[in-house]
């Protein structure tokens, strides 16, 4: 387990005229609807506890209106919480004064927005340099540092263009380069690719993963798209009505959805591309058959095992030690049916 970079503790956010006054009701567990209808306040976030490990991509997923944008904006305090704590590298973000917060935003955490948030009166190069301009980095130095990122996201040659002259995908590359240019360790991405066409979105996910392989930033990535979450997320937290209902590794969520809400999310995904053999193996003796690394995905394992004579295979650790076995039946079962063990009473809505 990696150390946690961002720690969110019992975070509550209530929108409305007197959030503090209705906080006790929320702590007692009033429903979102009741709070809105009888007390005129919107419950944005409810008792959020998340540890975000450093150097990984943590995805926060949920349907529209579930509080994703509200949550991510608490990390750099674009939104003030009603109650709770947010620690980044052990430092309380809420305790920061104006100057410290400004400093935090300039150097520690940068952000990529769903609708890009570019400055339309500035060129691509000027937009990418925006964070550095704010920090009063000398123009020459800023240009040099930015050029690297402009090239890196594939915008070379477009430096002098205005955002309105670019396609959506290109605009978000500008947004990404702008966020990278400040060299912040934390990257906050609020549905950064949701506004893009599927093909372009795929490209951008690729670019992000490629960059991450080299940069190892702490990325908080918001999405409403499970495929995207599974592709890029090292960890996933699922949000509903302002509360986290499940968090963990993608496999854990796919294998053991906490309730029907999540089950509905995962039921249509290609499980073969998410689940690794170690998740479904039977621990124990070596069997007759090919060896599979424990990180091999079911899609690949299916191929290998069904090609083998015994229809069985060994799961081996990185060191080559046998740690368990799998067989064709197990793989097929895991591919076809999620093991949901949720009763009628937990059925949402």
């Amino acid at each position: 387990m990696t150390d946690s970079k961002i720690k969110i503790e019992s975070l509550y956010k209530i929108f409305g005229p007197k959030p503090k006054a209705v906080l006790p009701l929320v702590l007692e567990g009033i429903s979102k609807q009741d709070l809105l209808e009888n007390h005129g306040h919107v419950l944005g976030l409810k008792d959020i506890n998340i540890d975000i490990p450093s150097r990984e991509i943590s995805v926060i997923m949920g349907l529209s209106g579930s509080g994703k944008s509200t949550l991510i904006r608490h990390i750099n305090r674009l939104i003030e919480p009603t109650d709770g704590r947010i620690l980044v590298d052990g430092e309380d973000v809420l305790g920061m004064d104006k100057a410290a917060l400004q400093n935090f935003r300039r150097h520690k955490a940068s952000m990529v927005f769903q609708k890009f948030g570019l400055l339309v009166h500035r060129t691509v190069a000027e937009n990418v340099a925006y964070g550095l301009t704010i920090q009063s980095v000398p123009v020459e130095e800023a240009r040099e540092r930015c050029q690297k990122w402009i090239n890196r996201v594939g915008l070379s040659g477009f430096e002098g263009h205005y955002p309105s002259q670019l396609s959506g995908g290109m605009q978000q590359r500008v947004g990404l380069a702008r966020a990278l240019a400040t060299d912040a360790e934390i990257l906050l991405m609020d549905e950064a690719f949701s506004a893009l066409d599927p093909l372009i979105r795929n490209d951008m996910q690729g670019i992000l993963l490629e960059l991450q392989e080299e940069l190892h930033k702490t990325i908080v990535f918001i999405t409403h798209d499970l495929d995207e979450a599974l592709r890029i997320g090292d960890r996933i937290a699922i949000l509903r009505d302002g509360a986290v209902i499940q968090q963990g590794k993608p496999q854990e969520i796919v294998m053991r959805p906490a309730d029907d809400y999540i089950f509905d999310f995962i039921k249509d995904i290609n499980r073969g591309r998410v689940i690794e053999v170690k998740t479904i193996m039977t621990a124990g003796e070596k069997v007759k058959g090919p060896d599979l690394n424990h990180n091999v995905l079911l899609e690949e394992a299916l191929q290998i095992v069904s090609d083998s004579e015994t229809r069985e295979g060994n799961v081996v650790s990185d060191e080559g030690e046998v740690i368990g076995s799998i067989n064709l039946a197990k793989i097929v079962q895991a591919l076809s049916r999620p093991n949901v063990e949720v009763g009628e009473e937990t059925r949402y809505r």
Binding site: G117, I134, S164, Q165
Partner: protein
């Protein structure tokens, strides 16, 4: 009850009431008139200086400057030629001097309106309370008949260029204030959020994001302010401002049709030149918004 007659204040009381206000204001102006005049002294000096400068400059130079400014603003040969020809016509029909005086007062009052109006607009945009307070004042400034506020202004400062300037500014300032406020309020939320997220200070946010993005609107406000200032030229001339308004007034009292028409048209021509040049300039400010749009 008798509903034929409104139960008004007694005639005596009413007279005393008005008299009270009048004498109160008269005392005020006797007390502070001089100080206020002193306060406006630099403005008067500036106005006189500009007027004399324009008058003293040989006309070919003025025409060249007009053409050059028109070109810088509009980048359109048509507009440059139109402006230059208009100035030739104005000179040819004997209105050169009055036109220079009018240009002087319009320039100064526009400068005053911009330097007071834009900060006021910014203040309004930043605070809903300021907006609530200033909006009705702007409404009054735009709707109250000019003659009504001329009375206290003249009582305070007498007849002259400064009261004229103040009258013009009262009438012409609201558009630039309103459109500055509107422009800043219309700046996209995402752009502001981005500025905040990258740690912009409120000054960086104002000058780096809000004002640049509001500029087209602010500029439209300046344009309207200039137009409204021009439309005040005749009224301003009633209280001693030199310029194209003076002959218009004279032709009203003497029924000189041609004189009135010519000077009136000169005002219109100035307005059109200002408008076209500034519109073109405003459009160029927005060039980044057009571009070749993809997807």
């Amino acid at each position: 009850m008798d509903f034929d007659q409104f139960p008004s204040m007694g005639r005596e009381d009413l007279r005393d009431f008005k008299k009270g206000i009048d004498s109160g204001f008269r005392d005020f102006s006797r007390e502070f008139g001089e100080a206020i005049e002193l306060f406006f002294e630099p403005l008067l000096w500036f106005l006189v200086w500009l007027e004399q400068l324009l008058q003293a400059t040989p006309w070919p130079i003025i025409i060249i400057v007009v053409g050059a400014l028109a070109w810088l603003g509009s980048r359109s040969i048509k507009i440059v030629v139109g402006s230059v020809l208009s100035f030739f016509a104005i000179g040819y029909f004997g209105m050169w001097e009055d036109t220079m005086s009018t240009l002087a007062i319009i320039s100064i009052s526009t400068l005053v309106c911009i330097s007071l109006g834009i900060p006021t607009g910014i203040m309004m945009a930043r605070s809903d309370r300021a907006q609530k307070i200033v909006t009705p004042i702007l409404d009054i400034m735009q709707t109250i008949p000019a003659f009504v506020y001329l009375i206290p202004v003249v009582m305070l400062l007498g007849i002259g260029k400064v009261p004229g300037l103040i009258a013009v500014c009262i009438y012409a300032m609201p558009p630039v204030v309103r459109l500055t406020n509107l422009g800043i309020r219309l700046v996209e939320k995402e752009a502001l959020e981005a500025a905040d997220a990258f740690g912009a200070s409120s000054t960086q946010r104002l000058f780096g994001v809000q004002i640049p993005l509001a500029l087209p609107n602010i500029f439209a406000g300046v344009n309207q302010t200039i137009m409204m200032a021009l439309s005040m030229v005749v009224i301003a001339s009633m209280i001693g401002v030199a310029g194209l308004g003076v002959p218009v007034l004279r032709s009203i009292s003497n029924q000189y049709l041609a004189l009135g028409l010519m000077n009136g048209l000169a005002i219109v021509v100035l307005a059109i030149i200002f408008d076209r040049v500034s519109q073109e300039y405003g459009a160029r400010l927005q060039k980044h918004r057009q571009g070749t749009q993809h997807d």
